[in-house]
Amino acid sequence: MNELMEMLKDRPFFEGLSEAHMKLLAACAALRSFEPDVCLFREHEPAEAFYLVRSGTVALESRLPGRGARTFATLGEGDMLGWSWLIPPYRWHYDARAITPVHTVHFDAAVLRDRMDHDPELGYALLKRFTGLIVERLQAARLQSLDIYGDADVGLGG
């Protein structure tokens, strides 16, 4: 547990959390590794976890009928993965697949969700962090969908 605390405490995502909340998070955490090509989770499965990627690359994929899986984003060292556990119906909206060997900290979100309901301070602290993450990803997705390097934007933009 101490080792996990050490791992979490330097990550910007957890910055500013109280000692007690950090201890709780560490108590809900475990190290998990994934071989290349193994799914961390799949679309529609119950979302009962979130992850801190310690190393390696994870592809987030959507499956398109007749066209197979398509990677819409990748996550790497230091990235947080997963917020579907926060919002009903608590199911994943995409697949997460290891592209390289991936080492993570896995958090038991079902337990944390329950604790957040009973401890509004913890609930607010975590929601604030996950909302920041969601906004960051939303902005990134918006930028990605603009096709900024396409023909509409020329010159140095090309």
């Binding site: 690359t57 990677t71 990748t74 230091g78 603009l146 390097y149 010159g155 140095l156 933009g157």
Partner: protein
């Protein structure tokens, strides 16, 4: 021919004839290509990273193109993306063909100011071309800099330029190269997503870092936000602006952004000087 001085060597409005020595295709369809050139006569001024030349295709027109490297003899290398009438016509030229060149013009990346600091380079699309000479300058005096991060985003794997060099940079422990594409392909094993995500992963000391950003304006704006969020003060974030150019000498006003002339005061600016323009362009 000899190479000297940092200012345009000749009459600044009169293009000097330069011969294309070598053409290198950067992407499969040749839409992006790199020219190594030599002056037919006289002296060529040595450009600094971030500066640009005006390249003139006789009878067609003139375009601003950044220095994408300096050849061993100090002559400028240019990397061009064919987008319109002049640059598409340039795509048809080969070794031995002659074009007009005036320059170098404009401000340079503050490479010396980055010494002793971490350096973050963020490039989008062909925006890697004007930043490449910075990487060369850093590698030539690597010990003078802290951590050096190169974040490069492109539309798809087939749009990545300078591939051989990217491989060398990737293998170089002195550089932290991160590459991402907006749209992956089945055989692409790298990152998918926008370049800001590469910045968000950190790996530099924001309080002591300097950043140089080049790409589409919207990419530069979001990159500046990410860099700032990571602790880099706005005045230590530098961007390279692009505006349509005519004289390149601060006379005609074609390239004006507010009180600034991109050709004379830029193209490299500290981010705060350009922030109002980014906001207006996003309205």
């Amino acid at each position: 021919m000899s190479v000297s001085a940092a200012e345009p060597a000749h009459e600044p409005m009169a293009p000097e004839p330069w011969r294309i020595r070598q053409v290198r295709r950067e992407v499969a369809d040749g839409e992006v290509f790199t020219w190594t050139m030599e002056p037919l006569s006289g002296e060529a001024a040595v450009a600094r990273p971030g500066q640009f030349n005006m390249l003139y295709l006789f009878g067609v027109g003139e375009v601003a193109i950044s220095i994408s490297a300096l050849a061993d003899d100090g002559t400028p290398v240019h990397t061009i993306r064919a987008v319109g009438s002049v640059t598409r016509a340039m795509q048809d030229l080969g070794p031995g063909d002659v074009v007009g060149l005036r320059g170098p013009f404009g401000s340079a990346w503050p490479v010396a100011a980055a010494e002793g600091r971490d350096l973050v380079l963020a490039a989008g699309g062909i925006g890697l071309a004007p930043l490449r000479p910075v990487v060369h300058a850093v590698l030539a005096r690597r010990e003078a800099f802290g951590r050096v991060l190169v974040c490069y985003g492109a539309r798809s794997p087939r749009d990545l330029i300078f591939r051989d060099e990217l491989e060398q940079w990737r293998a170089n422990p002195d550089l932290d190269l991160r590459v991402t594409v907006d749209r992956g392909t089945a055989d692409w094993k790298g990152d998918v997503g926008v370049v800001t995500q590469l910045i968000d992963r950190g790996g530099f000391d924001g309080r002591n870092a300097i950043a140089m950003v080049c790409g589409p304006e919207v990419m530069m704006r979001f990159s500046a936000l990410s860099l700032h969020r990571r602790g880099i003060a706005p005045e230590r974030i530098h961007v390279s602006m692009e505006r349509s150019m005519r004289c390149a000498l601060g006379f005609c006003g074609h390239c004006q952004i507010g009180p600034h002339f991109v050709c004379r005061d830029g193209p490299v600016f500290p981010y705060p000087a350009m922030e109002p323009a980014f906001r207006v362009n996003e309205l």
